[in-house]
Amino acid sequence: MHVLIVEDERSLHQEVRQFLLQAQYLCDSAFTFAEASEKIFVNSYDFVLLDLGLPDGDGLQLLREAKQNERQEASFIVLTARGAIDDRIKGLDLGADDYLPKPFSLLELLSRMQAITRLKFGLKRQEMVFGNGFHLDVTGRTLRYEGAEVPLTKKEFDLLHYLLLHKNRVLTRLQLGEHLWGNVLEDDSDSNYIDVHIKNIRKKLGHFAPADFLETVRGIGYRVSEQLSN
């Protein structure tokens, strides 16, 4: 997977790049409109992460130009700190595949990229197999253990899915909370909703098989550690 990161803010650029390299993506960099325009034209990418506020031009213009080229196969994810709603609408209308308002979580970015990839390669039915016999059907939003359905609420399902997507990583309560409640502003960082969710998930899974793959990392958060097979 080849990604072009278009971001003029060097520190942020560096962090995104480091994260994606660790996640086994090939990364290319552009810091200006001109640079990005040229690289998009010359190379072929799977993803373009596009900051809208470039010093020498409007990112939306770049998106417009790229989308006019029929051979363009890259998926565009628009990143912006402008925050105005009309940008969002414009970005989606012009064919951006997704939109992330800054500040965003790198984990969220990665899971959006994975979702786009799944869509692109027509993986209609995606299943995650874990914990010696659990099957998580992402499309049908169900969890089964050897054919029997494990009843999860919407939020419990989302939480488990997110942990599985980022298996072997520690996810903090804030990262999990942002994924579950991302659209809503809350100053409720000390709430224990996530802990209760995890407790319930463990209890529900525990009826079928030991759920010790779902680890608590003390003081930090939670982790699914296992070798998963898709």
Partner: protein, 446 residues
């Protein structure tokens, strides 16, 4: 009285014409009679002059045979006029005095009203003669009635015609004003929707009004644009560094060589950063709503948004074993709303009602039409309630209560956002609370 200018002018015009008509109806009859009577009197005087000159020329004897003491009388064919010369005793009258009066006279067999000129000729020899010239008042009255009617009809028709033409003309004249109101003022809620297209008019007052209005609107629009740009720059300047730090903390947490103590510090820093981030985002959200950066172009059912919110919050309700009772009687559809913002508004109210409720408490959501029009949606919890002295500050941005108050941690950012969104939808957000019993937040849509 509240009326449009055009209606006021038309009303004034009609009233003044009506007044004119009334005056006409009062004044015309006496004037016409005065004129007719004056005219008759003048004719009587002229006739007297003619008769006197005839007498001077021919001598009184040509008319009266003195020795017989007879009255001379002359009538015209239809007895509308007569002239008499009667010999009288000298003492009974004052010679040389002309008197004119109305009196009944019998002519042949008919009694009629006459206008009579009476004159006693000065002494001519032995006898005194009395001259009377009469003109029938029937003719005069006929004339005055006709005149009166004609005058009144002319007046009425004239008044009606002028009322109509005046109304049509004012309508035409005021068209630029109507257009100005229609195109530039009515329905324009926001500077971005201003129209600067000049109104076609050759009335200088309207032209001046239009130009000044356009100039002021341009100033408002430019100030508004500047503010919008400022907000956009501020959000960029504030959110970019937050974004850098957030990504950096995330990367650091992935580092396998990081020890536990440092991990905890980073998680703590992440918490602080999230607080900063949410504060900035809240400020920006409120500013963007107040700057009308959001559209109000959807018709949204309260029940539908509520269902979404409850769906998002069902786990939290279950976790705290809170029962939620929903009574929308009936549902209400907001004609011009923003669904995303309404979701945020109801989410904040209900998540507060969960957060500040007692374990195992109730939340009652009641929706009903208001008798004065509009809709009332109330979210009531059975929590500890809010102390009366804290209620006025509930919606203050970023104000927290002193610890130990009736409210556990303060209502935070949710309520100022809720209030701003309510105002964006022209709704009032009202609070009632009883310490120990619970709190009701009511949205009053007008």
């Amino acid at each position: 009285m509240k009326m449009r200018l055009e209606a006021k002018l038309a009303l004034f015009n009609a009233l003044s014409k009506l007044l004119l008509l009334l005056t006409g109806a009062l004044v015309i009859p006496p004037v016409v009679s005065r004129v007719a009577v004056g005219h008759t009197d003048q004719r009587l005087h002229e006739k007297m002059g003619e008769v006197l000159s005839l007498i001077r020329r021919d001598g009184i004897t040509a008319f009266v045979r003195t020795e017989h003491d007879e009255t001379y009388a002359d009538y015209n064919l239809l007895k509308q006029e007569y002239i008499t010369l009667t010999p009288v005793a000298t003492k009974t009258s004052h010679p040389g005095v002309v008197r004119i009066f109305d009196e009944m006279r019998q002519v042949d067999n008919e009694v009629e009203d006459f206008r009579i000129l009476s004159y006693t000729l000065p002494n001519r020899g032995a006898r005194t003669y009395h001259l009377e010239i009469g003109s029938s008042l029937a003719t005069v009255e006929l004339l005055t009635t006709t005149l009166r009617h004609t005058a009144l009809w002319v007046l009425v028709i004239g008044a009606l015609l002028t009322i109509l033409t005046d109304a049509a003309f004012t309508h035409y004249l005021l068209r630029p004003l109507r257009e100005l109101i229609q195109r530039k003022l009515r329905g324009v809620q926001h500077p971005s929707a201003f129209s600067f297209e000049p109104i076609p008019t050759d009335t200088t007052d309207f032209r001046r009004l239009d130009t000044s209005l356009s100039r002021m609107m341009r100033q408002i629009q430019s100030a508004f644009e500047k503010e919008r740009e400022f907000m956009s720059n501020v959000s960029h300047e504030l959110l970019t560094p937050v974004s850098i730090l957030q990504s950096r903390f995330e990367n650091m947490l992935q580092d396998p060589e990081l020890n536990d103590a440092h991990s905890l510090k980073i998680v703590d820093s992440q918490k602080t950063l999230y607080r900063l981030r949410n504060t900035v985002k809240t400020l920006l959200l409120i500013a963007n709503i107040e700057n009308e950066q959001y559209l109000r172009d959807e018709s949204v059912s309260v029940a539908a948004v509520l269902a979404d919110v409850i769906n998002e919050l069902e786990d939290r309700l279950a976790q705290r074993e809170i029962r939620l009772l929903e009574e929308l009687q009936p549902d209400y559809v907001l004609p011009a709303a923003n669904r995303t913002l309404l979701f945020t508004l109801l989410f904040n109210l209900i998540s507060n009602a969960i957060k500040y409720n007692n374990w195992g408490g109730d939340i009652i959501i009641q929706g009903k039409l208001r008798p004065e029009g509009g809709y009332r949606l109330a979210v009531t919890d059975t929590g500890p309630g809010i102390a009366p002295e804290n209620i006025p500050h509930l919606f203050d941005r970023f104000r927290r209560f002193h610890k130990g108050g009736a409210s556990p941690e303060g209502y935070g950012l949710g309520l100022p956002i809720a209030k701003t969104i309510a105002e964006f939808h022209h709704a009032e957000l009202a609070v009632e609370s009883t310490v120990g019993q619970g709190t009701t937040f009511a949205l009053l849509f007008s």
